[in-house]
Amino acid sequence: MKDSVFIYSPLFLNYKFSNKHPFNQLRVELTVDLLKKLKALEDDEIVEPRFATDEELELIHDAGYIRAVKQAGEGKLSEHEALNYGLGTEDTPIFQNMHQASSLIVGATLTAVDHVMMEKSKHALNLGGGLHHGFRGKASGFCIYNDSAVAIKYIIEKYGARVLYIDTDAHHGDGVQWSFYDEPNVCTLSIHETGRYLFPGTGTVHERGQGSGYGFAFNIPLDAFTEDESWLKVYKEAVTEVAEYFKPDVIVTQNGADAHYFDPLTHLHASINIYREIPKLAHEIAHSYCDGKWIAVGGGGYDIWRVVPRAWSLIWLEMKNLSCKAQGALPKEWLEKWQEKSPVELIPTWEDPDPLYQPIPRKKEIEEKNNHTLELALQFIRQQREYNAKKNVNGQTF
């Protein structure tokens, strides 16, 4: 069995709204090239993705919506009808063959799932996926089909496994959360910038699931201008405790790289350091609870030159226990190849420049607020743990 597989096709680039749109899959290409030039990604580790079938898409999406996406991609959907499906907006404009491009992304995440669940590899990475805003019958926030939601449903139905979904994109993972809001076999954990201003606005700490799914959705909305230290404290405590509580059979991590200071769409102030720590803990959790079963996908990330290639390479390097390779200078050939195409000056090292930004005056307040939010989010688990501990003690006494 291989340790890790990298799901990739140059056809990922076909998921493209327009030249000016912030969502740009060139970042996957940039990452692949960086890993190759680092000599950390071999051709025999790359797996060609398949397309998702309509039946698979229907695990989450309405048949009418899938039909609309197909028609839109062939120029056969009226503007009015398209808008009802969230298509043809500024966020998700219509483009040629959008159904094929989107179902390849879903198929790629399913390919990752099959590799891991059929024990062909311990871990699998699909950086083309992570489109967590897609809804049952509506495109939203740059996402058409929700590859992660389809994949999780596929895991439940085909493999009968319990899934922990960890979403560290700066935007709330709303599409995935709502898909499994009443499902006790899926636990969703999203750590994101508060929705007070930022899209999509949901993801409050009080969203905890409903019906039999109550207590299986966790949300930790962080204040704008949150920095590494506070972000990582929240991440480590939340992931550790939620994993211990839920005891998953497999984990799916969504690795949006848009919490970085440079990201143009969000207001968190993280540095590249968190992208080293995120996969590290995910990796540990996978081995502690899931016999290594870990599927990682991409997500947001709109500074595609300075942030995403480094951040996403670190996931693969962690899977292969090679993160020690990511130190000091980036491969010279990579910098030379891409600098001329980049509108900004590339960062020449794996580390961020120091200092990355001016000190934040409200730092203490923000940390205090985040700690409070973390406390609220985990209250449920912590109370239950205390209760069980007491019960055990009493059980021994009497």
């Binding site: 907006t89 805003h133 007070r196 201003y197 606005g201 949901t202 704008a224 769409l265 409200r362």
Partner: protein
């Protein structure tokens, strides 16, 4: 939500009792249905009173006195303790009217009547829910606040920027400021990428309250 009137949000299947039901009946219904108020109606569905969990509690003898008294109380009819000066609303009242009534009279439940007959009921929670929908916060959107001079035409000018950017608006609030020369317009807009809009608004000389200011 087609219309901001009470008829659209009121609960139409109302649990009621007659004045001759016992207080024990009322207590059972309150516990079983997890409600706090029961309208009391006549045989012709005319509203004649209301009884709340608090009315029952207030009427109950102290736990320090003897318990026989409690049984006697519970067997009495609700008409003995129900409130008869009931504040009611009409199905065609606006939701914000109901909000004002809740606020001014410090009550949390409003029976809705036409010609004295009970047709529905609304609670504070129903009204709050309507206001949450109004804020647009239940739909995927970004929030943008724009500070504008307190003169005519500002909303229209700002809205034009969204229109030109082809971005749909989920909700708008106009907040008064302490300084009466200004107002804050609060929008929820259906886009994940408001950067173009913000740049455009700033280019036109508006102060956008987000994202730069809160960190400083």
């Amino acid at each position: 939500m087609d219309n901001m009137i009470i008829e659209k949000i009121m609960q139409k299947n109302v649990l009621t009792l007659s004045p001759d039901h016992s207080i024990q009946d009322a207590l059972n219904l309150i516990k079983k249905a997890r409600i706090k108020h029961i309208p009391i109606i006549s045989e012709e569905n005319t509203l004649i009173g209301i009884i709340s969990d608090r009315d029952i509690r207030d009427a109950a003898p102290s736990i320090l006195s003897k318990n026989e008294k409690l049984d006697a109380l519970l067997n009495k009819p609700v008409k003995n303790i129900m409130k008869t000066d009931v504040i009611t609303g009409h199905p065609l009242d606006f939701v914000e009217d109901a909000a004002t009534i809740f606020y001014e009279h410090k009550i949390s439940c409003l029976p809705i009547t036409t010609n004295g007959k009970l047709v529905g009921i609304i609670t504070k929670t129903d009204v709050l829910n309507t206001f949450v929908k109004l804020t647009g916060a239940h739909q995927p959107s970004s929030r943008i606040e724009v500070r504008v001079p307190n003169i005519t035409g500002m909303l229209s000018e700002v809205a034009t920027v969204f229109h030109k950017g082809k971005v749909n608006i989920s909700s708008v609030f106009v907040y008064p400021e302490e300084n009466e020369k200004f107002k804050t317009l609060v929008f929820r807009v259906q886009t994940m990428n408001p950067m173009g809009l913000i740049t455009e608004l700033e280019k036109k000389g508006y102060t956008v309250v987000w994202p730069h200011m809160l960190g400083e």
